[in-house]
């Protein structure tokens, strides 16, 4: 009798080992549920408040880099990272059981917990050598977490029937913002350490240093747009040879500069331009006329820089328009899920798919490899991701579609860099 049961459950388990894209996590196999852990350690860190920071703080801090400052920065990182991860873990723990036991989401959960455990145990940093070990731990964590984004989005797509879509979007937005914040803090500290350790470094502020850590003090809108534009054109040209590639015209206040984390900006502008180029190429591929150019406008005002990208790619159809900012809903979710499954793990195979170096001096490899992916891989997350990044530093991203004609995208950037990072949506409390 017992043997028969075992045989049947064995067969059941084999049946359950279906490919991830068609796996509905209600029929859970025990192996994907995250481990249970006592929550006392987590509780302690969840109770600590997060200290939001601004771009200005980031670069002012790094401008005069002394040993003391570096050690301070190390301890800030040592405290902030586990605090922020703890808040995310608690948010995940409050999701429905069926959702967290999804293989992709539980993978993310486990990864986070591992990070949390490793960071919280680091003792106070007092010397440069201790800082160096901290940096090793940070570096290892950054690398390990490269796969989080595709796994998160895949998990969310698979679970879209298990939670209201708005709650799901809010969850993903929160996760992504928190992730950006942790990576910014971490990478900034790594870059500062590099700068400090580099030969010929002096602690006095130098105006030739355009970068303070990850922050580029003077991002020139025109330069970045042209660079990302060329890159997008190249990627699309190689993907569909023989089809005419539209020109990208840039005009307006071309001298506008502002401080920003360069890799973020390149990602957002790259995504928007790539969308436009692809749309125009799709629409005009059978036409004898040359495709109409993409018009980019840079507008500078005392407090903002606005970049408007206008294309004539036919606009967004009305079936898709309501879902354009969502990670979880939409008529295309099955295709997106399949495409996401094809995104390489980002660490190992980046060299393979990267046909050319990403523009700029970006350090965030997860973003740059997403930017260099094959344009046929429609992941469907470029827009919501870009919006998260844009709003992270108190900016914004808006889209207006003229169905049948084209799309206008408006990227708004706060010029002063003195706004705190937006860790929550619309000033709602990041309640624990």
């Amino acid at each position: 009798m017992i043997r028969a049961t075992t045989l049947r459950s064995g067969a059941l388990l084999r049946l359950l080992r279906t490919p991830p894209s068609s796996f509905r996590c209600i029929a859970t196999s025990g192996s994907s549920a995250p481990r249970w852990r006592p929550s006392s350690a987590l509780d302690e860190w969840v109770d600590r408040p997060i200290r939001p920071m601004s771009l200005r703080q980031l670069f002012f801090f790094g401008r005069t880099l002394t040993e003391n400052r570096l050690i301070s920065s190390a301890n800030f990182v040592r405290n902030e990272l586990p605090t922020r991860i703890a808040h995310r873990l608690r948010e995940m723990q409050k999701l429905p059981y069926a959702v967290v036991t999804n293989p992709h989401l539980s993978y993310v959960y486990e990864l986070y917990y591992k990070s949390f455990e490793s960071f919280r145990k680091i003792p106070v940093v007092k010397t440069i050598e201790e800082n160096d070990s901290l940096c090793k731990v940070i570096g290892a964590n950054l690398k390990e977490h490269l796969t989080v984004i595709p796994r998160l989005v895949m998990g969310v797509l698979e679970c879209q029937d298990l939670m209201p879509a708005d709650d799901m979007d809010a969850f993903v937005n929160g996760m992504l913002r928190a992730r950006i914040s942790r990576r910014v803090i971490a990478q900034q500290h790594l870059a500062l350490t590099d700068t400090y350790n580099s030969p010929g470094h002096s602690p006095y502020p130098s105006s030739e240093n355009d970068f303070v850590g990850e922050v580029l003090l003077r991002c020139n809108a025109e330069e970045i747009i042209r660079g990302c534009g060329k890159f997008a054109q190249q990627v699309c040209r190689e993907a569909t040879p023989g089809v005419a590639v539209p020109e990208i015209n840039v005009r307006g206040h071309l001298e506008a500069t502002f401080p920003y984390v360069l890799s973020h900006l390149e990602y957002i502008v790259g995504e928007l331009l790539r969308n436009s180029v692809q749309a125009v190429m799709d629409r005009y591929k059978t036409s004898v006329q040359p495709p109409p150019p993409i018009e980019v406008l840079v507008c500078e005002s005392p407090q903002h820089v606005v970049i408007r990208i206008s294309d004539q790619g036919g606009g967004i159809s009305r079936e898709l328009l309501p879902y354009v900012w969502s990670f979880s809903k939409g008529p295309r979710s099955q295709e997106r899920l399949a495409s996401l499954g094809q995104v390489p793990s980002l660490a190992a195979t980046m060299q393979e798919i990267q046909t050319m170096p990403a523009p700029g001096k970006s350090r965030d490899s997860s973003l740059s490899s997403l930017s260099t992916r094959d344009p046929k891989l429609r992941l469907g997350m470029g827009l919501p991701m870009s919006k998260v990044y844009a709003e992270y530093w108190a900016g914004g991203l808006e889209l207006h579609s003229l169905e049948g004609y084209g799309v206008d995208a408006f990227l708004q950037i706060s010029k002063l860099g003195n706004q705190n990072e937006q860790l929550t949506l619309r000033a709602s409390i990041d309640a624990v």
């Binding site: 307006g252 507008c299 606005v306 606009g315 009305r318 169905e403």
Partner: protein, 454 residues
């Protein structure tokens, strides 16, 4: 049932009015029947309180474009004409009564203002003159003729509601809560759009079906107030000329419009609405362009049409033709959704995305960030009063356009954008404004054609 008891039998939302009180109950105990005479202002209205209350409690439903064409293309047969008259009668009284109730819910000091009370009395008057008609169905052409005259009177009476209301609220600004009045105005003006449409449609259908009208060839494109082959580009050009004339006369410069996109696109919509909206938007663009000294840069207007909106007029006609099979009674449809809410949703929910999008792009310098949050409000605050009183030539000239040179005009009070949006949203469209301060403004007007709702 005494008045006080009836008052409590009313739906809860009506008890939230400003002047609810319980004193009448006590009064009735002391002096029987004393509370039956509400001390309303004297008016020529003969309509009774009970009747208003009964009508206001009737379920209301939003108007769709399909409602307006369900009786067929003019000239209408006698049967269709009577059907149109009765249909109108089935909708109007409830709407008017509801407006009266809402007006009564405003603070006493507001309704006592001469301008507001004038509007209030207009509504009472209109309901009174309709009463003899809606008590029974219209069955003869003579009755229909008389009814149509009454309708014409109604439309005429209410033509200047907006400037008069605006003036009234301006005068009362010290006594009102901004948020509540904005909400009132928004609901009132949106309801007004529908009420006027119903009335004007019947009028237009009637005029197109008179014996004199029948002598001419039937108009292939117009169904009452609806033009089934409305070409937005034509309206843009006429607004450009109109607004441009005024600018040239007043300021000596004339901004130009560069029209591109699907210029020959057509769809079915109400021309006067589109004209109003486009006039407002083009006026804003011209004004900004002139004020920033950029009249050398033309304003770019792009017309986009979604793929399944027919570009040919024939297709548009085919889509909306009403046959015996397609006519049906919409009066009960969707009632549950709309008639029980306190907000009294007065326009149809936007179920489908728009069919025509018009983008107006100017180089007028954009909207300053401190003004941007207020562009959709019905301005009647002290700031705007000063602005209006000390209005400069620019404002006077450009505002004279939309007020038809009316001396009691609301110069500089900026009702244009919120009202334009109310018109656009009435049939499921929208207006979005994107300002780039330091460069210019992009305005996106999207409108839904008629094909989707039939």
């Amino acid at each position: 049932m005494s008045l006080c008891l009836r008052r409590y039998a009313r739906p809860q939302h009506q008890l939230r009015g400003f002047h609810t009180s319980t004193h009448n109950r006590n009064l009735d105990a002391i002096v029987p029947n004393a509370s039956r005479q509400w001390s309303y202002m004297p008016s020529s209205a003969t309509i009774s309180e009970d009747e208003i209350r009964r009508l206001a409690a009737l379920p209301r439903r939003p108007l769709t474009l399909a409602d307006l064409v369900r009786h067929g293309r003019p000239p209408l047969s006698e049967e269709a004409l009577l059907s149109s008259a009765n249909f109108t009668l089935s909708l109007l009284p409830a709407r008017l009564a509801h407006r009266i109730q809402r007006l009564r819910n405003l603070p006493f000091i507001v309704v006592a203002n001469p301008n507001i009370s004038k509007i209030y009395n207009n509504y009472l008057h209109s309901l009174s003159i309709l009463e003899p008609f809606y008590q029974k169905r219209i069955t003869t052409l003579e009755e229909e003729e008389k009814f149509t005259e009454v309708m014409a009177d109604l439309v005429q009476t209410h033509t200047n509601t907006i400037p008069i209301l605006a003036q009234g609220f301006l005068e009362c600004r010290k006594y009102v809560n901004v948020a509540e009045v904005t909400k009132f105005l928004d609901q009132h003006l949106r309801a007004r759009i529908g009420t006027r449409l119903i009335a004007e449609q019947h009028l237009a259908l009637h005029m197109a079906s008179t014996p004199e009208a029948r002598q001419h060839d039937p108009d292939p494109y117009n169904i009452g107030v609806i033009d089934t082959s409305l070409q937005p580009a034509k309206i843009v050009k006429s607004c450009e000329a109109f607004v441009g004339d005024i600018c040239e006369f007043k300021y000596g410069v004339r901004p130009r419009i560069n029209l591109n996109g699907t210029v020959d696109a057509t769809f079915a919509h109400v021309p006067v609405h589109l004209e109003y909206i486009l006039t407002e938007l083009i006026k804003n663009a011209f004004r900004a362009t002139i004020e920033s000294g950029n009249e050398a840069h033309s304003i770019e207007v792009t017309i986009a049409t979604a793929p399944d909106v027919p570009n040919s007029k024939l297709d548009a006609l085919k889509k909306i033709s009403v046959t015996d099979e397609s006519v049906h009674d919409y009066s009960q449809e969707g009632l549950a959704d709309y008639c029980t809410s306190y907000e009294g949703i007065e326009s149809p929910i936007n179920a489908a995305a728009p069919s025509i999008t018009i983008r107006i792009r100017d180089r007028g310098g954009g909207i300053p960030p401190e003004i941007l949050p207020n562009i959709w409000s019905y301005s009647f605050t002290t700031y705007d009063m000063e602005h209006a009183v000390n209005g400069n030539a620019m404002d006077d000239g450009l505002n004279a356009i939309t007020n038809g040179g009316n001396p009691s005009s609301i110069a500089g009070l900026g009702y244009g954008l919120p009202l334009g949006r109310a018109y656009a949203e009435y049939f499921g469209g929208s207006i979005a404004v994107q300002s780039m301060y330091g460069w210019g403004t992009d305005v996106y007007l999207s409108l839904q054609g008629i094909g989707k709702t039939v």
